[in-house]
């Protein structure tokens, strides 16, 4: 049943409900595709039995007319989500072998909605990276190739690189991702799929390995906007276990989908025309504006004056929060332990030296430095003040527009090893994605077209607080007009 793996999540759900195929056939099709894709390194652990068990439950529930929203759907889960009894390592050596005795709220919600799990998806270590190259399991290889006849291995983006590659390669109909500064949207753009980061607090962070708590937010990645709406509905919801969880009802985003944008004003931020960004990216942005106009929307020029300061603000706040969050990895409660020398403190230092990779150490060092005595106000408090201004920019902008359209990333996917030696160049990849993260706003990437090398490019929609529906609807309008049907040619 290889063809089942080419259907969208909505088509799988509806076909299963109509009795066209069984949930077991879906799970078996995906288990086979996953097993045959080891070259891509998208999964760190596979759980075919889990997918089959959920499928069998779905098949018997169908007999009893007791179907749940995701009955019959197997999903890939980013390795940042705690999954009871299944390895959860955040792509790090320090958590090698960690099997949580508990389940994250988001994955518990997905299971309650009937979904099964195909396995855990590779990612940048502790979600710190934009290329999936910092993973302790090695990089994920994008299923996409340049059309230049060369055979360069490309990044699927990061940190949700395994998640993005799995959807693009047909190794899952939908996956979970997490986004701290663009980690759902940039990999979605690089692999020609859709992904949405909801408003901060929509999805519970409980049981998701923490990176930067004031920014981290889970969201879905899938082939289509509709699939994202279906998944987000199942993932989101109030959770008393997360004190930052939003106590609002979850809208019926799928039912509310409409690509009619009449009366909507689309903000085009002038500060996002950045020097050095390839013409192709700006040309796609212009096409996006035309598509939204065609859907009935009116473009308006807006200003987000502190855009330039978003990345440096992010690279103070995120490492500061990370250095504090990652203090828990000390060789005592979980993960690896290195005895070292010098008693307890020596053990901590040796364990952390052996367990963390170079990028994680770099960020812990930056974070510890900016939080240290004498520098706290100059760096950390200053960054929080600039963050307030960035938030204020968006607040003002949304007085004159309903949504904001920008490119997702400043380039198409780059080759593995191309940017690893220069941390700053790597950080710049998130230039369009980070401001919405700092402001806690819902934001989505949808495929817009291919560049001259045949690689996907994404368009990025930012909505006002809690307006996931507006973001999804504009995403749908672009999806319908872009007619993006390109798929990577199977070589793995």
């Amino acid at each position: 049943m290889a063809e089942l793996t080419s259907l969208t999540l909505a088509e799988l759900r509806d076909g299963f409900r109509a009795g066209t195929f069984s949930a077991r056939e879906i799970a078996e099709g995906y288990n086979a595709a996953v097993a045959a894709s080891k070259t891509l390194n998208a999964y760190t652990v596979t759980t075919p039995e889990d997918a089959l068990a959920a499928a069998d439950t779905a098949d018997s529930d169908r007999q009893r007319d007791a179907l749940m929203p995701l009955s019959g759907i197997p999903l890939g889960i980013k390795d940042l989500f705690a999954t009871a009894g299944t390895d959860t390592t955040a792509g790090s050596n320090i958590l090698k072998g960690f099997k949580p005795p508990y389940e994250s709220t988001v994955t518990a919600n997905l299971r309650r909605a009937g979904a099964g799990m195909l396995g855990k998806l590779n990612m940048d270590e502790f979600a710190m990276g934009s290329s999936n190259e910092t993973s302790a399991y090695g990089p994920v290889i994008s299923p996409w190739k340049r059309n230049d006849g060369g055979n360069a291995a490309l990044t699927p983006g990061g940190s949700s690189g395994g998640s993005a590659a799995a959807v693009a390669a047909g190794l899952a109909p939908g996956v979970t991702g997490t986004d701290t500064g663009g980690s759902i949207r940039q990999p979605a753009a690089f692999t020609g799929i859709s992904g949405i980061k909801p408003t901060y607090g929509r999805c519970s962070r409980w049981g998701i390995v923490s990176f930067a708590s004031s920014l981290d937010q889970a969201g879905p990645m899938a082939r289509t906007v509709r699939d994202c709406a279906i998944l987000l509905e199942a993932m989101a919801g109030f959770d008393p276990k997360d004190s930052t969880s939003l106590d609002f009802p979850v809208p019926n985003w799928e039912a509310g989908l409409s690509s009619d944008l009449k009366g909507k004003r689309i903000g085009i931020p002038k500060e996002y025309r950045i020097d050095g960004v390839p013409d192709e990216i700006n040309a796609l942005w212009d096409r996006g504006i035309e598509w939204l106009k065609d859907a009935g929307a009116e473009p308006v020029l807006i200003s987000l004056p502190h855009t330039k300061y978003a990345l440096p603000t992010y690279y103070i706040i995120a490492p500061a929060e990370a250095s504090s969050n990652l203090a828990r990895y000390d060789g005592v409660r979980y993960g690896i332990r290195e005895e070292g020398s010098g008693g307890l403190e020596g053990m901590y230092a040796a364990t952390r030296a052996a367990g963390f990779g170079a990028e994680v150490k770099r960020r812990i060092m930056i974070g510890t430095y900016v939080l240290s005595a004498g520098f706290y106000d100059a760096y950390f408090t200053k960054a929080q003040r600039v963050r307030a201004l960035i938030k204020q920019d968006f607040r003002k902008a949304f007085e004159s527009c309903d949504l904001i359209l920008t490119p997702t990333a400043p380039s198409a996917a780059f080759g593995l090893n191309e940017k690893m030696s220069d941390p700053l160049a790597m950080y710049l990849n998130d230039v369009f994605a980070v401001p919405a993260s700092l402001a806690g706003l819902p934001a989505m990437s949808v495929p817009g077209g291919l560049d001259a090398q045949g690689l996907p490019l994404g368009l990025h929609l930012i909505g006002n607080e809690l307006d996931e529906q507006g973001v999804l609807n504009a995403g749908l309008a672009i999806e319908e007009r872009a007619g993006f049907t390109a798929r990577p040619k199977k070589w793995w």
Binding site: G97, F98, P101, T199, Y200, G201, S214, L215, P240, S243, T244, L246, H306, Y309, P312, T313, Y315, I316, S323, A327, V332, Y334, G335, I336, R337, E339, G343, L344, E345, G346, M347, A349, A350, R352, A353, F356, K361, R362, I364, M365, I366, Y369, S372, A378, Y379, T381, K382, A383, Q384, R385, V386, R387, A388, L389, K391, P423, L424, L438, A439, G440
Partner: protein
């Protein structure tokens, strides 16, 4: 502000990260590069701007002060690299 090897060693100690001389030497220019870049925030006028701590305006909830789980000692210790007699075991800290 720029960091030197002594500062990097001090920060590594605060962060509980054991580092070789080579790692410290490599981090000095990397951290300086990144810190030099983030210092552009100094040019933003933030007088009278309150630092943003909660990105979506809402009051931090307090939960009721009641036990809602418990009796899960074995689950808590399940992943410990070393557990003895129902406790986390660590290297001796008192002679």
């Amino acid at each position: 502000m720029s960091v030197d090897t002594a500062t990097v060693r001090h920060v590594a100690r605060l962060a509980r990260l054991q580092m070789s001389d080579a790692e410290v030497a490599a981090l000095v220019p990397e951290l300086n590069n990144i810190l030099g870049w983030v210092e552009q925030l100094a040019e933003v006028n933030t007088d009278g701007v309150e630092p943003l701590t909660a990105v979506i305006d809402q009051k931090l909830r307090l939960r009721d002060d009641v036990i809602d789980d418990g009796n899960v000692r074995d689950a808590v210790l399940l992943n410990a690299p070393d557990a003895q007699h129902g406790f986390f075991a660590v290297p001796k800290v008192i002679e």
